[in-house]
């Protein structure tokens, strides 16, 4: 899921980084619906224009930060001794 959108984002990334660094791109399919200051705005526009469909809302940054949830990913949330 979202492979098409991610591929399209990557194809636009250089231009987006030059024009709107730090903002949020909204892509559905191969259509860039806009660039927004906040991800909430992007989601609202996506929902209003295309309905409840998968969409890519991605911050325009050179490198994405990885999420870190060590207790969950190591299965230690409720580990017993």
């Amino acid at each position: 899921m979202l492979e098409v959108e991610i591929k399209h984002f990557e194809s636009l990334k250089v231009d987006l980084l030059r024009q709107s660094p730090g903002k949020y791109a909204l892509i559905i399919g191969t259509e860039l619906l806009g660039v927004f200051d906040r991800p909430e705005e992007a989601y609202r526009v996506g929902i209003q224009s295309k309905g409840n469909v998968p969409m890519l809302i991605k911050q325009i940054v050179p490198e994405d930060a990885a999420a870190r949830l060590p207790a969950m990913t190591l299965g230690l949330l409720y580990a017993g001794l």
Partner: protein, 167 residues
């Protein structure tokens, strides 16, 4: 400022003595709050405009996880509500980096005075298998990570078996 206090106490058999702090309860259950997982407000507005039914929220417990850089929601719960993904994120695991879906969502905290919060993205994770142990046990449906905690004051009083969340 809304403040939520929760303490674990042992209630004595005779009514003459006050409840005693029970630190073991907090250690076992962790800092958990009751939570309702709802569809994001923008989607609720859209469904309402088109005369569609808004799905009932999923309920369970949310664990405050100061080790988590982002908040998470049980993927089964959010998918059951019909919420579609808005992204993918790389998660560092013991087995190497893995990609997981991001979903928008809304958390409300019944029985507390904490405000409801819309998230532009929550990590979809398999939390259902990790129920909350201890006296305050139940299904774990969310993790409250540092993206949320940056707006809160959290006090963890292990000696007294209580914690405080203030917004």
């Amino acid at each position: 400022m809304p403040v939520y206090n929760f303490g674990h106490y042992l209630v004595p058999q005779s009514g003459s003595q006050p409840p005693a702090p029970f630190p073991q309860g907090l250690r076992t259950s962790g800092p958990v709050v009751p939570v309702l997982i709802e569809i994001p407000s923008a989607l609720a507005d859209r469904l309402q405009q088109s005369g569609q039914t808004i799905p009932s929220p999923a309920s369970g417990l949310a664990l405050v996880d100061t080790g988590a850089s982002v908040s998470a929601v049980d993927a089964g719960c959010i998918q059951q509500l019909g919420v579609q993904p808005v992204g993918i994120v790389t998660v560092g695991t013991a087995a190497g980096p893995q990609q997981q879906m991001l979903y928008p969502g809304r958390f409300s905290f019944p029985g507390t005075n904490l405000p409801s919060i819309d998230f532009s993205s929550l990590l979809g994770a398999d939390l259902a298998a990790q129920g909350v142990d201890g006296p305050r046990g139940g299904p774990l449906v969310a993790l409250l990570g540092r993206d949320l905690l940056e707006h809160f004051v959290l006090v963890y009083n292990g000696l007294q078996g209580l914690f405080t969340l203030a917004y």
